[in-house]
């Protein structure tokens, strides 16, 4: 479904601040794979997601989604294939537009926008029904500006928007990191719900080891621009935080203590 082939990405290429963020990355996701991507600060997790989404171009390598090469496609064209939720809850929604207006924008992802009215009556009903089925308490606030919502509510709404039109790939970029633990759990639960319901192929970046272990069917760990671990199947199901720490130490060949705080929170 998603195929990242020999991808390299360097920031500030050719300057003194040159930093290689991705070094010849290869990663292939099968249809329905739910991969949790973990690693310390600067490991390249978010860079990889942004390269898939088209925020950054890459110097080398190719990216395929659903068999189609998207390496050169601009961000807004790739959006037809990709649903995204960001770390910053403010980033995924338009604050000064209404809840239903935001959903209507997402409902047209990948379609040509015309001079038809931006939201139809059927859509309003549909969105209301959808939100009430999720129990977020938003179904009676459909015309409220999204800026009035809490961070958790905005993140949940972004999640709904990302999956409203079934994406070929769902990219979750530390989407619970800015939330309090209780809200984070709720949003993760909601993510699981959407992913399971539609069998979405998902790449979820997280700092949190427990989240990385608990969710998904496959765990990929990055370190300094490389993929150093790829754990799937039964092995992933039986994984513990201690295992993961040990294997990280072995694979990266570094003292674990430095990264421990960053990884386990």
């Amino acid at each position: 479904m998603l195929n990242i082939k020999n991808v390299s990405k360097t920031f500030n290429l050719g300057t003194v601040n040159e930093k290689a963020a991705l070094k010849n990355i290869n990663l292939m996701l099968e249809e329905g794979d739910f991969v949790t991507l973990i690693g310390g600060n600067g490991a390249g997790k978010s860079t990889m997601l942004n390269c898939v989404a088209g925020v950054y171009g890459v110097e080398a390598g190719n990216i395929f989604i659903d068999g189609k090469e998207v390496t050169k496609l601009p961000e807004h064209r790739r959006a037809a294939l990709i649903g995204r939720v960001f770390q910053d809850p403010m980033m995924g929604t338009a604050a000064s537009m209404g809840i239903e207006e935001n959903l209507a924008l997402a409902y047209r992802r990948g379609q040509l926008r015309t001079l038809r009215w931006g939201i139809s009556h059927q859509e309003k009903e549909l969105f209301k029904e959808l939100l009430s089925s999720l129990g977020l308490g938003l179904e009676n606030r459909m015309t409220d500006k999204v800026g009035l919502l809490s961070g958790g509510q905005r993140q949940a709404l972004t999640l709904v928007m990302a999956t409203l039109i079934r994406p070929r790939i769902l990219l979750l970029d530390e989407h619970t990191a800015a939330l309090d633990p209780k809200t984070a759990d709720k949003v993760l639960e909601l993510s699981d719900h959407f992913i399971e319901e539609s069998g979405l192929t998902t790449l979820m970046v997280t700092h949190n080891m427990r989240h990385a272990i608990k969710h998904g069917n496959r765990l990929v760990m990055m370190h300094e621009g490389h993929i150093i671990l790829d754990i799937k199947g039964e092995e992933k199901m039986n994984l513990t935080v201690e295992d993961l720490m040990q294997r990280f130490g072995k694979a990266s060949g570094e003292e674990f203590a430095n990264d421990r705080a960053l990884l386990s929170e």
């Binding site: 807004h76 037809a80 338009a94 537009m97 001079l115 009215w117």
Partner: protein
């Protein structure tokens, strides 16, 4: 006094068209677009020269609109395609247009006295000079409000609003934000030029200098409208822009009447806008003061 007020209202209605253009860039797209300083004079120049050459005044006004749109296209292309910061793109277009406008006019200003304008039709039916401007101004502003209310409710209009509000989100939802910025700038500058064409015809001359400070007047009108007449729904916002533009003209007429020298007008306008824009910060400073006064007995 009534005459002065009516004059202010008629001028305000014509400037309202420009204010709506400024609103589209400043509030909807979240860009301070300075090219309007050039496009307002461009609209005046095109309309005046068209009329001088014997064109139908309505056709000349339409041409002014198109001319303004092309100016917006240039600013948009500089900003999105060549990645020049929005503010600088606007300044470049503004400066370039000064020369362009001089070429269109052939000299620094052009008189339209005794020539047919969009207002003469009404005047020949016995409507007074000022009244004809008010009637036509009302008609164009009302039509504009209806059209823009519709447009910004369409899929493309929503995409422009989302782009101004949160470009990352817009791109993630498949919106080509560059094109939306260009489109917004095109519409905005078209309206500003249209306003310039209407103003030139109402005052019977076009001047290459008439754009100087117009962005500040536009901003002042936007802000006065928001402060005085609220910003609830999009429709009431559009109406508030018109009322804001009229209020600005009325305020200016009043302070001039009270004896402020006309030369100080631009300083006065700039101060008004500076104070209005800093209101949130000023409130922040005043809040602790108020509290201490309440608590301090």
């Amino acid at each position: 006094m009534l005459q002065i007020l009516l004059g202010a209202v008629s001028l305000g209605l014509l400037w309202a068209v420009m204010t709506i253009g400024v609103y589209i860039t400043y509030r909807i797209l979240n860009i301070a677009d300075l090219s309007v300083e050039g496009s307002i004079a461009m609209g005046a120049a095109i309309a005046a020269q068209g009329i001088m050459k014997g064109m139908n005044p309505f056709a000349a006004t339409a041409m002014a609109f198109i001319g303004g749109m092309s100016a917006g296209l240039i600013t948009g292309a500089l900003h999105t395609r060549l990645k020049i910061p929005a503010l600088l793109s606007g300044i470049l277009t503004m400066i370039a247009l000064y020369s362009v406008n001089l070429r269109i006019l052939g000299k620094a200003n052009l008189s339209l006295l005794r020539l047919e304008t969009v207002y003469t039709g009404l005047q020949s039916m016995g409507v007074g000079r000022n009244d004809s401007v008010i009637v036509l101004g009302m008609l164009s502003v009302s039509a504009l409000i209806v059209v823009l209310y519709w447009f910004f409710g369409t899929e493309i209009g929503c995409a422009i609003r989302a782009t101004g509000n949160n470009p990352q989100m817009a791109r993630a939802q498949g919106i080509n934000t560059d094109n939306m910025i260009i489109l917004g700038l095109v519409i905005s500058n078209g309206l500003v030029a249209l306003s310039g064409a209407l103003i030139a015809q109402s005052q019977s001359f076009a001047d290459v200098q008439m754009g100087i400070g117009s962005i500040v007047i536009g901003l002042a009108s936007v802000i006065i409208g928001e402060v005085l007449f609220g910003k609830k729904s999009f429709f009431s916002r559009l109406v508030s822009l018109v009322l804001g533009a009229i209020s600005y003209r009325v305020i200016i007429a009043l302070v001039l009447r009270l004896g402020m020298p006309a030369n100080d007008l631009k300083l006065f306008t700039a101060l008004t806008v500076a104070i209005a824009l800093s209101l949130p910060v000023l409130r922040g400073y005043l809040e602790p003061l108020k509290k201490s006064m309440k608590g301090g007995r």
